[in-house]
Amino acid sequence: MTDLSDFSAGKDSELQDFLLVEKQKAQFHAQIHEFNDFCWDKCVDKPGSKLDSRTETCLTNCVERFIDVSLLITNRFAQMLEKGGGMH
């Protein structure tokens, strides 16, 4: 990511706010594309005339558990770093 403060746009608070919001929106969308990519592979068998409830449950669980896993790993990784181990 380019550091936006390098540009004079960085001094324009309206533009800066706008770009920050747009950047967050873009990151949110990118994350959804990624989730949908692998959760689709895990949950959707043959595309039917609608998503059945089992598939819907699988998709929501897939997103929720992935977030759980990344939080767990982030916390555990932070603990590893605190102990000074793990990365030699």
């Binding site: 540009f7 004079s8 873009a26 594309h33 949908n36 005339s49 998709l59 997103v63």
Partner: protein, 90 residues
């Protein structure tokens, strides 16, 4: 980007710049969705590529596109409510 470093922009220029940014992002988003959909639905619907897309393959593709959108929207709702929940817990 060069023009950005040459002083301040007028209100109208700023407006135009913001519109352009939004439009570029929307285009990139649509392209991402199209690429993913083509890849996923090709995988699901075309088992043995023949000399043309037959009727059932076309139907499958149409259905797959709709379901992919459904799935995308569901994932989006799930993700945003999770973000909301995590924020409330902070």
């Amino acid at each position: 980007m060069d023009s950005l470093s040459t002083g301040s922009l007028s209100g109208a220029q700023k407006e135009e710049l913001m519109d352009q940014v939004k439009q570029q992002i929307a285009i990139a988003n649509a392209q991402e969705l199209l690429t993913k959909m083509s890849e996923k639905c090709f995988k699901k619907c075309i088992n043995k590529p023949g000399t043309a897309l037959d009727n059932s393959e076309q139907k499958c593709i149409a259905m797959c596109m709709d379901r992919y959108m459904d799935s995308w929207n569901l994932v989006s709702r799930t993700y945003s409510s999770r973000i909301q929940r995590e924020r409330n817990n902070m």
